[in-house]
């Protein structure tokens, strides 16, 4: 609440030292949540964590080697809404420190080499444009060539990125086709769904895992809740489009809390003999 922030600021407490948990409404010590991998100590609500933090959480320390970091987004349609896409790219890059929404590379998970990709929902809603599609496709192709288990952790409220128009839509087909070839080669793909995973990201690589994990209470679905509400004009059921909802309907293998993710991935790799 803004009034509380003002009050605290007056008392001279550094901003961000405390935060309010949207899960239980408790005010919690940020550092405690950080030590719990970005989870609420009271209710285990999973906060957003950045892509870089995610890599630290999942991979063995110091093992990450990034691939294709030199790919940069461009503006193929000279797209302009209220703001030009070219300018939006620059401001998002400055704001997030990322050059686009996906980070890919290789590293070790409890001494098992893997190909790891993720989308960071901070960069234009984690939406998939050409760079995200290309990085993931190259990741999948390298995983195929090097016979590596593939982990993709998705977070995207945006789905396919509107600003690159049809080219974004086609990234869904491109990445899915690469995954089909990886599957032909016998690869193991573990997809991890985090809050939120929506639209064209949900409707492509995120749902194509041999094994699909989801973080607790993540919003996952095809159409956004507002679109659905506007179309059918009824109140949406409690818990609609959450990880738990998808588990119940048969689309998620396991709900995996963040502190268990690394060991659950390692165990799955071992079961599949990869």
């Amino acid at each position: 609440m803004s009034t509380e922030t003002t009050k605290r600021a007056k008392r001279g407490v550094p901003e961000g030292l405390w935060k309010k948990c949207p899960g239980c409404n408790e005010t919690i010590y940020t550092k405690t949540a950080d030590e719990l991998l970005g989870c609420c100590p009271e209710c285990n609500h999973h906060f957003y964590v950045s892509g870089k933090e995610r890599i630290r959480q999942v991979l063995d320390e110091g093992t990450f080697e990034e691939w294709d970091a030199d790919l940069m987004p461009t503006d193929p349609l000279q797209f302009k809404d209220k703001k030009a896409y070219a300018d939006r790219i620059v401001s998002e890059q400055q704001r997030t420190g990322l050059n686009d929404a996906a980070i890919t590379g290789t590293g070790m998970i409890r001494a098992r080499r893997v190909a790891l990709g993720l989308t960071d929902s901070a960069f234009i809603m984690g939406s998939m444009g050409s760079v995200v599609g290309e990085r993931l496709t190259r990741l999948i192709e390298r995983a195929t060539e090097q016979n590596l288990p593939l982990i993709i952790i998705s977070g995207s409220g945006g789905g396919a990125r509107m600003h690159e128009g049809i080219l974004s839509l086609m990234q869904m087909a491109k990445v899915s086709a690469a995954l089909a070839r990886y599957d032909n080669a016998g690869g193991l793909f573990i997809s991890v769904l985090t809050n939120p995973t929506m639209g064209g990201v949900a409707a492509s690589f995120a749902s194509l895992g041999d094994v699909v994990f989801a973080e607790p209470r993540a919003l996952v679905g095809f159409a956004g809740p507002r679109t659905i509400k506007a179309t059918i004009r009824i109140e949406l059921p409690e818990g609609f489009q959450t990880s738990e909802f998808l588990l119940e309907h048969g689309y998620v293998d396991r709900i995996v809390p963040r502190d268990r993710l690394k060991s659950e991935i390692a165990r799955t790799i071992d079961y599949c003999g990869k």
Binding site: L77, A177, A178, L208
Partner: protein, 324 residues
Amino acid sequence: MSSSVQPLPFEQPIVELHQQLAELESGDESSSKDVRSEIKELKKQIADTTQEVFSNLSPWKVVQVARHQNRPYTRDYLQLVFDEFVELHGDRHFGDDRAILTGFAKLDSQRVMVVGHQKGRTVKERTECYFGCAHPEGYRKAMAKMRMAEKYGLPIICFIDTPGAYPGVGAEERGQAWVIAENMYEMSRLKTPIICVVIGEGGSGGALGIGVGDRVAMLEFSYYSVISPEGCAGILWKSHEFAENAAEALKFTSEHLPGLGVVDDVIPEPLGGAHRDHQQMAVQIKQYLTKTLRDLTSTSTEDMLDNRYAKFRAMGKFLEEAEA
């Protein structure tokens, strides 16, 4: 042009000329020499005006033509393009989605599997098909029939015409995201030729769910987009009223899509759009399908699959620093 056609606002000049023509033709002196030459002149004027209106359609007008109520739908082409259609129903899991039609068809002597969105013409049919917005069972049905086509060596022809996959509670419960992903994944490796033709609206993931093939074509006045212009306007301009601006910005018409490497071929429409002459449109589509199938069946399956992969693999535009 049949009288049931609801003219679009920008078609008004054409409609008025048609009315004048009808009056002259039904008049008492329609056989007199003067009137006959007037009729001839008017017909030329109609053709010129139609040509002029339709050669300069803005993207937003293209959307309106693509959504025209008298535009031929999949079911029309099943009658006009093919010699026979044997509908196959059901996804074997949940139901028979009327928003996607599937079945055997004969293209002259060539047996094929047709999969296509159906929007519906009558109110009853439109309601049954959710205006061409498929549910997961529609995509599952499509995949089941496409797998069968692969098994029996039938080429697949997909007609794309949807505002988008249906956004609803049941659709989410039955895995809308999952089935669209699964269809792209499987279509990329089905061992039989696939031709996709966008005949009206190519609405986002709902279109792509039956849109991965060896050739992707679009009709001249169709559009194929990552999001509807209204949806895009609502998100980026914060109001649906900016749909026209969004239509402009998204570059989703046949003018731009071939240049972006997304569409292989544009099939020209009859003068004034497909809704004015279903028969002629069907002839154009049939020619295209026949020729393209001949090309595809002369390629080995392995090469065909490599080409299909390479085609989608090349899509996207980005910058890459030259390796030092």
